[in-house]
């Protein structure tokens, strides 16, 4: 089996804390690129970036259009744009209408990432109050990538994880510490 290249993570309501925890827990030698969509009001994005940078041991970049993808980096979607995987080496932005009332949308990232990276992709859906990510995660799984969902029991808001599990029977359901462990073992 080929190694993983990308971990795509989507989080919504209550997600900042668990994302910070995951980034803090990843070993600095991890060889994947992390793509991150967090639903958050655009006015708070600067602080979010600072927060993630203070927690993460990998460099955190707010994505510009055609940003190049390097391993061992974290790429955060900017406010008011969707991020998409354009090809093996770069990301693209779009200001098309919100999807699931969200821009950036997790589905948009996951679906485009699944197209390009297939089985070399891990998708992670974390806490949230809407259904974004559910359809993208099933696309990742049908492209033979791995789909992980945060255990609804421990999620700050269980709607998004439950929607993702409901949509993908073969998604792996894990606690945040199991997610960190899994990522550290596989990447």
């Amino acid at each position: 089996m080929q190694g993983f290249r990308i971990v795509a993570i989507g989080a919504s309501a209550g997600g900042v804390e668990v994302v910070s925890e995951i980034l803090e827990g990843l070993k600095p030698t991890c060889q994947v690129a992390i793509l991150l969509v967090i639903h958050i009001p655009s006015t708070r994005n600067t602080r979010l970036l600072q927060l993630l940078r203070s927690k993460s041991r990998l460099p955190v970049i707010e994505v510009d259009d055609k940003e190049q993808i390097f391993s061992s980096h974290v790429y955060l979607a900017p406010p008011d744009y969707h991020i998409l995987v354009e090809d093996e080496d770069s990301l693209a932005l779009s200001s098309d209408l919100p999807v699931n009332y969200s821009r950036p949308s997790i589905d948009v990232l996951f679906e485009s990432a699944a197209d390009v990276f297939g089985e070399r992709l891990i998708g992670v859906v974390l806490t949230g109050a809407n259904r974004d990510g559910a359809s993208g995660l099933s696309k990742i799984i049908s492209a033979r990538g791995i789909g992980i969902v945060q255990d609804p029991e421990e999620a700050h808001c269980r709607v998004m994880p439950e929607a993702a599990i409901g949509n993908s029977a073969s998604a792996l359901v894990m606690s945040r510490s199991q997610i960190i462990e899994f990522l550290n073992e596989r990447t």
Partner: protein
């Protein structure tokens, strides 16, 4: 497997459109196009992209409708108010030194950016010496831009943006409301040339002092971005201004060294060296 077939079908569709209708989407970002074409498939009730291709090749009306899906662009008046504030406070003082001005808004879509700039120029006393070129590949979009109609429910956002951009008057001075829509004042369009122009296949057509092209280049792959920025380079005199979208930059472009940062935060550049 099926993703690869989709890719192939999209490439064939784009070739077909290019050869039949002269619209060149071949350099567009595939990731975004895929989503837009998927929406069109639902709308046209087509199972595959090949089926859609067959349809648009033989039916011009379907093509026109597909074109709307492929070029759809949604903006706001004074989107990213800080950008317009930077234009007002930093760029206008330079523009004021010219006796006459030309401004180009490529990919103007439904015209939000056009009206924003004209209002700004009017408020800053520059409108009467300026000609605005508003261009797009979609004639439907150009018609909508020229009509200047927007849904009434978008006005609160437009008004807030205008105020945050440092607007001196009230936005309501520039439109009248009727039947759930607003119509922007026709005098705003007096100095605008709306015209069909493709960044993918047409040439530079005028020397302009300011180009504002925001969130159009994100839909292009890097090679096509280079072509478009090359046109901007040819159209700008030395020290001419180029404004891009909040997350667009020249750092991945082959023309990077032909421009200098003027306001890095708001993505405003100036033409270096040159003519």
């Amino acid at each position: 497997m099926s993703a690869k077939i989709d890719d192939l079908e999209i490439r064939l569709l784009l070739e077909a459109i290019y050869h039949k209708y002269d619209y060149d989407f071949r350099g567009y970002s595939l990731a975004s196009l895929k989503r837009r074409i998927a929406q069109a498939l639902t709308r046209f009730k087509c199972e595959t992209i090949s089926e859609l291709q067959n349809r648009v090749l033989h039916d011009k009306i379907s093509f026109t409708e597909l074109l709307n899906y492929m070029t759809v662009q949604v903006s706001e008046l004074f989107r990213d108010p800080e950008y317009f504030k930077a234009l007002r406070e930093k760029v206008v003082p330079h523009l004021e030194t010219y006796p006459s001005l030309k401004v180009w808004i490529p990919g103007c879509a439904d015209g939000e950016e056009v009206y924003s700039l004209i209002i700004l120029f009017r408020e800053m006393g520059l409108e009467k010496r300026t000609i605005f070129y508003a261009t797009d590949i979609s004639s439907d979009a150009l018609q909508r831009a020229e009509a200047g109609h927007y849904d009434l429910d978008r006005i609160p956002l437009f008004t807030k943006n205008h105020r945050l951009s440092g607007g001196t008057g009230s936005l309501s001075d520039y439109y009248t409301a009727a039947y759930g829509r607003v119509i922007f004042d026709r005098t705003l369009r007096q100095r605008v040339v709306f015209s069909d122009h493709s960044l993918a296949s047409d040439a530079s057509f005028a020397e302009v002092q300011l180009i504002s092209c925001r969130n159009t280049l994100i839909y292009f792959r890097r090679e096509l971005q280079d072509r478009a920025i090359g046109l901007f380079k040819e159209s700008l005199p030395r020290n001419g201004f180029l404004g891009l979208g909040a997350k667009e930059s020249l750092r991945f472009s082959q023309h990077d060294s032909d421009f200098c940062d003027f306001d890095q935060i708001h993505r405003i550049y100036r033409r270096a060296g040159g003519l």
